[in-house]
């Protein structure tokens, strides 16, 4: 082992270009180091998580009881729109890129990302993109209020701030595409000599597939919003029926992007959970190959199910049937994943540290979101579910106790490696239990509201919906406050924790990242590590 990791710390001091490394702000501004950039991404996404969360608090406060008490309906619509844009593009996606930056080079045994300067640029675009997006809230014409899907013709009624929204989306897209190119280049070219594709950790696999999805669909979104831009400001009629255009075409284009996009947010979550469950079960991942193939199948299917978001637009029967069958099929590879996680736990020797708790929470609650997704796939029943709170409950289950719980799990899992300190297990567990209780109080009642007929995106409602909205709001406020514990745990771990982490950190941990010291030195794997698969891997033992 010492031959693998050596002591990279000593290497870095005499490394040729680090005698004059900048410090302070310049270090972060000009950094090309994957760990620094990973940290920037993670801090940025956490800030966005709280900004987007504050908007959710405004929404839940207005919906606390019937009648309008706090905000005008137009501002309410700006909040729902911005909440989604910020959470999707500002919180969840950059957080996964942050994990990719930190972990992929260490997991494949590479010294850094393949394209370090581009890495810097792909991060530093984001603060400007989101400053521009958020600034629209302070403009005369207000922020975008047509929903994050930006459906025309309504989105074309946005005032001049619309141009800022479109350019912000373009910048986010450029950032994502550059990040993806970097990840693909790193994984394809910089793996340790013995690390074949089918020996890669699952997190690396899921990110590789995610990166291809991003490159495939971000340009589609860019095209769609550019057409909106020219319709709005240059009198084209791509989506204007009166000028020969087609408002439904936008929806097809948007969801051709939008459906793969939801898998972009969840596939890396599958990867993280597939790292954590074997570690704390002290047992190899069950069905490694099946996990890889299932991820690839889900990614492929994600391109041919987009119109299940559009069952009410009046598609021909044949189209509705195709998209219904294709959507139902996704349940199969997704089911394989859930069964494999449970089988990994089966007959293991489990312990329940915070990362494992969040991973188990993920499996249970993501499965609930997956099952409601199966219900939504039934096109005829969807004519009732569509655009109600049932849909809101569904996608929040897969995104909050889904993607966000996996992010929390990953953060607790790797925090000791990043900082060299153990976080407070007690406060981590308190964070988990409060989050789990309140996320369900927040979102489960929304299923009932949707079935009872409450449409989504409304600022006020009939009193018959009052009880469950009040529950949901209480859960929302409590869930929001609970996340402050997470910040506290991180700050304590980074600055104050006295418990030092070992190199391996977790007894059952396997993988190259656990062979380097904690905290991981600024530069790791200056020379490629020799892979000792029996010791360092979780899965795919039979293929060696």
């Amino acid at each position: 082992m010492s031959s693998i990791a050596g002591n990279p710390d000593t290497h870095s001091h005499d490394h040729h270009d680090h005698g004059h490394a900048p410090t302070g702000l310049a270090r972060w501004l000009f950094t090309t180091n994957h760990k620094d950039i990973g940290t920037l991404y993670l801090i940025f996404s956490l800030i966005m998580f709280f900004i987007g969360g504050a908007m959710a608090m405004v929404i839940r406060a207005e919906l606390f009881m019937p009648g309008l008490q706090l905000v005008e309906p137009d501002f309410f619509n700006q909040m729902t729109t911005m909440h989604a844009l910020i959470m999707v593009f500002g919180a969840v996606m950059p957080a996964w890129v942050g994990f990719a930056n930190w972990m992929i080079p260490m997991m494949v045994g590479a010294p850094d990302m393949a394209l370090p300067r581009m890495n810097n640029w792909s991060f530093w675009i984001l603060p400007f993109a989101f400053t521009m997006l958020l600034s629209t809230l302070f403009m005369d014409s207000g922020g975008p209020a047509a929903g994050w899907t930006l459906y025309p013709p309504l989105s074309l009624q946005t005032g001049d701030s619309f141009a800022f929204v479109v350019f912000a989306v373009h910048m986010m897209g450029i950032s994502s595409i550059m990040g993806s190119i970097n990840i693909i280049a790193t994984i394809m070219n910089m793996r340790a000599p013995d690390m074949t594709l089918m020996r890669m950790p699952l997190f690396v696999w899921t990110w590789l597939i995610t990166a291809y999805l991003l490159i495939a669909v971000m340009p589609v979104l860019a095209g769609a919003v550019t057409m909106l831009l020219t319709d709005h400001f240059f009198a084209t009629s791509f989506f204007n029926a009166a000028g020969g255009g087609d408002p439904v075409m936008f929806q097809h284009i948007f969801w051709f992007f939008g459906h793969p996009e939801v898998y972009i947010m969840i596939l890396p979550a599958f990867g993280v959970v597939s790292q954590i469950i074997p570690t704390f079960s002290r047992k190899p991942l069950f069905g490694y190959n099946a996990m890889v193939y299932a991820t690839a199948s889900i990614a492929f299917l994600s391109f041919i199910v987009w119109a299940h978001h559009m069952f009410t637009v009046g598609m021909p029967l044949q189209g509705e049937l195709f998209f219904m069958y294709a959507t139902m099929l996704i349940a199969v590879p997704t089911g394989v994943k859930v069964f494999n996680w449970v089988s990994t736990m089966w007959k293991g020797a489990m312990t329940f540290e915070t990362p494992m708790l969040f991973a188990i929470g993920f499996v249970v609650l993501f499965t609930i979101g997956g099952l409601s997704g199966l219900m939504l796939a039934i096109a005829a029943a969807d004519l009732q579910y569509h655009d109600t709170y049932f849909v809101v409950a569904h996608f929040h289950y897969v995104l909050v106790p889904g993607a966000v719980f996996a992010l929390m799990a990953g953060a607790y899992y790797w925090l000791p490696k990043w900082t060299g300190n153990m976080y407070s297990e007690k406060w981590g567990k308190i964070h988990f239990w409060l989050s789990t209780i309140f996320v369900n109080v927040l979102f489960f009642p929304q299923h009932y509201l949707g079935l009872a007929g409450m449409p989504r995106r409304i600022p006020d409602y009939s009193p018959q919906f009052a009880d469950f909205n009040m529950w949901s709001s209480i859960g929302g406020f409590a869930f929001g406050v609970t996340q402050l514990i997470f910040v506290g745990v991180i700050i304590h771990c980074v600055r104050g924790s006295k418990a030092k982490a070992t190199d391996q950190v977790w007894e059952g941990a396997r993988g190259l990242e656990w062979t380097v010291p904690s905290p991981a030195p600024h530069h790791t794997f200056d020379t490629p590590p020799v892979l000792d698969h029996a010791t360092w891997e979780h899965g795919n033992r039979e293929s060696h």
Binding site: L154, G159, D246, L317, L371
Partner: protein, 386 residues
């Protein structure tokens, strides 16, 4: 731990899972909210309810089985019980089983789901047709063959109560947000075909008791149908985000027995004759101002505000505005034809000439706009004909 004890743990977990799911499904009823998808009153709504319940039960059973396996493992296979980890990492038999069995379940589910969709998409053989047009933020209903058309928007009581800090308790308003000034009236037991479109942005027409919603899209005419099997009043809402008052454009349908429906139709014709006569006679300024104030409150005030100050810049003020105090011709042009790319719609499509004349006269003489201009309904009628 021996096999027998493990079995007991598994049974106990299964029982706990069943109890947990029962609690989740029964929670609405236990808290006094009878909440599930409505069975409804049309052939589609009954079918869609049944589909919903089948797929829900499939999901519940799958959920119980998966979570039972998982929590049994969590209880039994923990390090603190001295468990030694097993080393197996795959099982081809198990993996084939849990790929094939879900496929079979899905195929079985696809059969009723397909049948329901085939029925839903067949509007042929209709007894009557109603065209529905969505506007920001109201619905227009046209009875094809009957020469009846009218606009249906949020009832005044709800509209007053829903203003920010109105001070009116929503629970004191009957059918708060789910009531309209003039409901769609349909006969029971007839196959009604709907032609659904929109004039400005997307909307979606939805009555949960009918079992479906359908988008209203500018430039498209979507078809749908219903057969209402029981007389009654059925309430729903716009289901596609359509701007600031998306939450305030309800759908109300009153289903009447055939004979009462015919009677309602003949009353409508009488009202149409009265309205036509109103367009032809000369009106005085006080008459126009009185009617104009009502029309303004129901049609214009949501954007331009009751005091004419608007919500600039999206919704400009009318008090002292260049349009409302300037050339009458331009003013009429905007009101009749609308402004593309904004929420200002072509009111010639939804209001009668006397309504428009009254509203224009009102805005030219209220909020300090003392132009003294008076617009006769006949002028509007001529303008819209031309």
């Amino acid at each position: 731990m021996n096999k027998e004890n493990s079995f007991i743990v598994a049974i106990a977990v299964l029982a706990a899972m069943c109890a947990a799911f029962w609690l989740l499904l029964a929670a609405p009823a236990l808290t006094g909210n009878e909440i599930n998808m409505p069975v409804g009153v049309t052939p589609q709504s009954v079918t869609h309810y049944e589909l919903h319940m089948i797929i829900l039960w499939i999901c519940v059973v799958i959920g119980i089985l998966v979570f039972t396996a998982m929590f049994t493992s969590i209880i039994l296979h923990r390090k603190s019980r001295g468990q030694e980890p097993a080393t197996f990492s795959h099982s081809t038999k198990a993996e084939i089983a849990w790929t094939v069995i879900p496929v079979l379940i899905l195929v079985a589910m696809a059969v009723p789901a397909t049948k329901a969709l085939v029925v839903m998409e067949d509007p042929s053989g209709a007894d009557m047709t109603v065209k529905i047009t969505g506007y920001q933020w109201k619905w227009k209903y046209e009875y094809i063959d009957e020469d009846i058309e009218f606009v249906s928007s949020l009832k005044a009581e709800s509209n007053a109560a829903r203003q920010l800090n109105s001070g009116i308790d929503p629970t004191s308003v009957d059918n708060y947000l789910l009531d309209v000034d003039k409901p769609l009236v349909l006969p029971v037991g007839k196959k009604v075909k709907f032609l659904i479109t929109a004039d400005d942005v997307l909307h979606a027409w939805w009555v949960p008791d009918f079992g479906w919603k359908r988008d209203a899209i500018p430039g498209y005419i979507n078809e749908s149908w219903t057969i209402i099997e029981q007389p009654g009043t059925y309430r729903g809402q716009c289901a596609e985000l359509c701007g600031k008052d998306h939450g305030f454009m309800p759908v109300v349908v009153v289903a009447l027995p055939e004979d009462e429906y015919r009677q309602w139709v003949s009353e409508q014709r009488g009202e149409a004759i009265v309205a036509a006569a109103a367009s032809e006679r000369e009106w005085t300024l006080p008459e126009l101002m009185e009617k104009g104030e009502q029309v303004y409150a129901s049609q214009c005030a949501t954007c331009h505000q009751a005091d004419g100050q608007g919500l600039p810049p999206a919704f400009p003020a009318l008090a002292g505005s260049a349009i409302a105090t300037g050339s009458l011709k331009e003013h009429l042009e905007v009101v009749l034809k609308g402004r593309e790319g904004t929420a200002m719609q072509a009111f010639e499509d939804t209001l009668t000439p006397s309504d428009i004349a009254a509203a224009v006269t009102y805005t030219r003489n209220a909020f300090g706009n003392e132009t003294g201009d008076l617009v006769q309904p006949a002028t509007i009628a001529d303008a819209t004909k031309g």
